[in-house]
């Protein structure tokens, strides 16, 4: 028995090696259910926490990529929405213009602003139409809200327009309801006002001021603004009438020339 035990001891490593390799080859050669079963046990016992963490990391990465993609999409859609809003506003302005009937023997010619000048508020703009487009000096310039100004100088391919905020641009006007006449002027201190309107006449706040057509430049009946304040100073012959312009000179976008049809 002793020699057997000593032999086993010496050859212990050999026996273990043979057993281990036999087992390994059995696993390798049988495959199928045996390997699957072992793999299941090992995965459940050893791999489970790491697989859980790995799945969590994959989900986080996927979510992060989704968030990045959504942020890009959001930025793109925001820009697109802004463009749509701009188009919507333009659509509204054009629809408003469609309802505007130009005075007889005039036609509307759309034009683009290519330059603006003025101090606090624009008083002169450059437009992209000139003599070659049949633009002439003193033609009326409007937008969808009312009178904007008149053509002051005409070059070949562009023109200078004096807006109503330019002191040199005066308009013969009248109060729409009472038909009282006066002259629309503008200066930096007072803003727009209706000058030369006698105190005998009836003028009330909220009345619309329109062109009278008497100056020979602006056709009759175009809206200039709304009367904002009326003062009747003592010992003065004329009212002090402040007018709120119908046109927002700071927000000019499209302009239209009222061209004479010949």
């Amino acid at each position: 028995m002793d020699w057997q035990s000593s032999w086993l001891k010496e050859k212990q490593t050999m026996v273990h090696t043979v057993i281990a390799f036999l087992l390994a080859f059995v696993i390798l050669l049988t495959g199928g259910s045996l390997s699957g079963g072992i793999a299941n046990v090992v995965n459940t016992v050893v791999y489970f926490p790491f697989l859980k963490i790995n799945n969590g990391l994959i989900t986080l990465t996927t979510n992060s990529q989704t968030i990045d993609a959504l942020n890009t999409k959001l930025a793109e859609l925001t820009v697109r929405l802004q463009l749509y809003n701009e188009t919507l506003e333009e659509n509204k302005r054009l629809r408003a213009l469609l309802g505007f009937v130009p005075p007889e023997s005039f036609k509307i010619v759309p034009t683009e602003i290519i330059g603006v000048s003025g101090g606090g508020i624009p008083n002169t703009v450059l437009i992209n139409l000139g003599a070659q487009d049949s633009v002439r000096v003193n033609q009326t310039v409007i937008n969808q809200s009312g009178v904007a100004g008149r053509v002051a100088q005409v070059m070949d391919d562009y023109s200078v327009v004096y807006l109503l905020t330019e002191p040199r641009c005066r308009v013969a006007a009248r109060v729409k309801t009472s038909r009282e006449q006066g002259i629309i002027r503008y200066n930096m201190n007072r803003g727009m006002y209706l000058d030369n309107c006698p105190q005998q006449g009836e003028v009330t706040v909220g009345d619309t001021v329109i062109t009278s057509g008497l100056g020979g430049i602006f056709p009759e009946g175009l809206v200039i603004g709304i009367i904002e304040q009326v003062d009747a100073p003592d010992k003065e012959f004329f009212y002090d009438i402040t007018v709120k312009p119908a046109v927002n000179f700071n927000g000019l976008d499209e302009l239209y020339i009222l061209a004479w049809e010949r």
Binding site: A20, L29, I38, A39
Partner: protein, 165 residues
């Protein structure tokens, strides 16, 4: 029973490496062969039978992710374990160079079948893959082994590192 705890932790380290660390620790296509490195380090410090059965267990853990090839790595890692343990007794492994040489041979023995099994291109592309992926992987892992021995023998330490600056 407590004497098994370190080996169980090594097996969990292998599982952690296979699932979470294999990509972060790879340099491009070059993989770290951590499993055979752990098996050889255990074999260099423990007896033959422990080395053999640890290699066997490491092979099971390694192959569990891919049951279709279950058995291949068990054979290879068991062989690496027992052969490393035998080599420890038969060769003089006192110098660092001989240890690294032994590690490199063991790593190549692991990496070649690993490359053949886990690359879809098969034998035809083996030469290219061996030079571009397997060999750099062996060098990378051997370098990690070298670092381990340098730290273990005290040739690299925090104190020495601090003295450099």
């Amino acid at each position: 029973m407590t004497r098994f705890i370190p080996y169980i932790l090594y097996l969990y380290l292998i599982a952690c490496f296979r699932t979470l660390l294999v990509e972060p620790l790879s340099i491009g296509n070059i993989q770290l062969y951590l499993t055979p490195l752990i098996v050889m380090l255990v074999a260099l410090h423990k007896d033959h039978i422990t080395a053999l059965w640890f290699g066997f267990a490491a092979g099971i853990v390694y192959d569990a992710v891919d049951p279709a090839h279950m058995g291949v790595q068990i054979v290879i890692l068991s062989a690496i374990g027992i052969i490393t343990a035998q080599a420890k007794d038969r060769f003089n492994l006192e110098s660092l160079k001989s240890l690294i040489l032994l590690l490199s041979v063991g790593l190549i023995a692991f990496a070649i079948p690993h490359t053949l099994i886990y690359t879809t291109s098969g034998v035809s592309e083996f030469g290219r893959l061996f030079l571009q992926v397997t060999l750099p992987g062996v060098v990378y892992t051997a370098f990690i082994g070298w670092l381990f021995f340098m730290i273990k023998t005290g040739r690299i330490s925090y104190k020495k590192f601090k003295e450099l600056f």
